[in-house]
Symmetry: C3
Subunit: 169 residues, 3 copies
């Protein structure tokens, strides 16, 4: 169960510590979005970063189409501001479950994947499943000791594009 | 990633142990309800305790309205008995997923939050999402070493009250 | 929170290591199915093994009816081949969330349970909840050090059998 770090495998204790930290990163990422603290969302990324929401069919065929794509933390900030200020959509809540976190490899980045389900609740409706899929991520440890996403791809299990992915996945 | 205990931060190993114990508390709490062992449900709480199911809108506006509210372990026992004995409802199963557990702070209590999804299965139907939201909890370590809920608020992401929250969330 | 191993309780550190390994087993099991790597699915089981998908009503009454049942790794391989090659069904994706893992006891096997939700995405539809329930498992450590399922029962919360459980749960 140990994880290769370069040519050097991490021991079980280091592996478990890293797993704990990566799981906390995902949990706090989910909480920030679900609580509506969108201004904190870009802080989960490194300054040079890549974020995209990609349909699984396209991802597997190597096609570049993305539903949402940001290529720096500044673009994430613009996106967060647009969501908060424009509000050209019906009010809603979202709720993430990010589970089954798997660290695949550690080199200059931590290569991690997780399963996600995002539920959406509109004002007078019961909750529904908005999107399920896989998060495929590169995570970096930054000089302040914090883990942040260098690359994050939310690959959703669908050909159909939901008409309204407003909040980040 | 360390957690502040009073003015004293816990080390990484203690933090991880606490995380493990808190996650197990949530998992066993979910299993007791989902398996229909409702008589065990009150045992997850301290004797003086508070449990409420609260719509998110009300919670965020500081309004006291709750769908279910119990203010002691004895009230939880009454509630559990009522659910088991009255049975004035169509038989159903519930299934919890309690995920992304976050310990926010440790003082005389452990301040923890988690995301939840509760699915409901009626007899001749496929499963549906009954409720999603956040559990906002104070957890105490009791003299027998066990962790129990001192306060538990299931804050569900909805304005609409489902017509039938029968089992605890 | 320690786990009994025979008459000897495991310490907290060993308990947490085992929890970590069992959680990783579930996560990698889920990923193999969800990614469509069905040829890897039998490798999560010991050679002599038992796998069944069982409706909860039947399970609780001790009735043997199962929706899917395999009694060796070879049968799992046959099943995986049939799913991949026959394709007499509409293309779809599945996505697991396996959560709230509980190790109940350790003797010659690790007795573990987990909650699961499986979502299904058909080509032109939004995701729906296909099945929720509990996985009740016996896990063995094999001579190569890996954990594998000796017995796995996916007990789903339903009386109704979905018309199309194609992929394993």
């Amino acid at each position: 169960m140990s994880i290769e770090e370069g040519s050097l495998p991490l021991g079980i204790d280091e592996t478990m510590r890293l797993q704990y930290e990566v799981e906390q990163l995902y949990s706090r990422y989910a909480a920030a979005i679900d609580d509506g603290r969108l201004d904190e969302w870009p802080e989960f990324f490194t300054e040079a970063c890549f974020y995209a929401i990609v349909p699984r069919d396209n991802f597997e065929r190597g096609l570049p189409l993305a539903v949402m794509r940001c290529e720096s933390r500044d673009m994430l900030k613009d996106r967060a501001r647009a969501i908060r200020e424009t509000m050209m959509y019906e009010p809603r809540y979202v709720r993430h479950q990010i589970t089954n976190v798997r660290i695949e490899r550690v080199d200059e980045s931590i290569h991690a994947q997780a399963n996600y389900a995002v539920f959406e609740v509109l004002m007078d409706e019961l909750p529904k499943v908005l999107s399920v899929g896989r998060s495929i991520d590169l995570i970096r440890r930054e000089p302040d000791g914090a883990l942040r996403f260098r690359e994050k791809r939310a690959v959703y299990d669908s050909v159909l594009v939901p008409n309204s992915i407003i909040y980040p996945l």
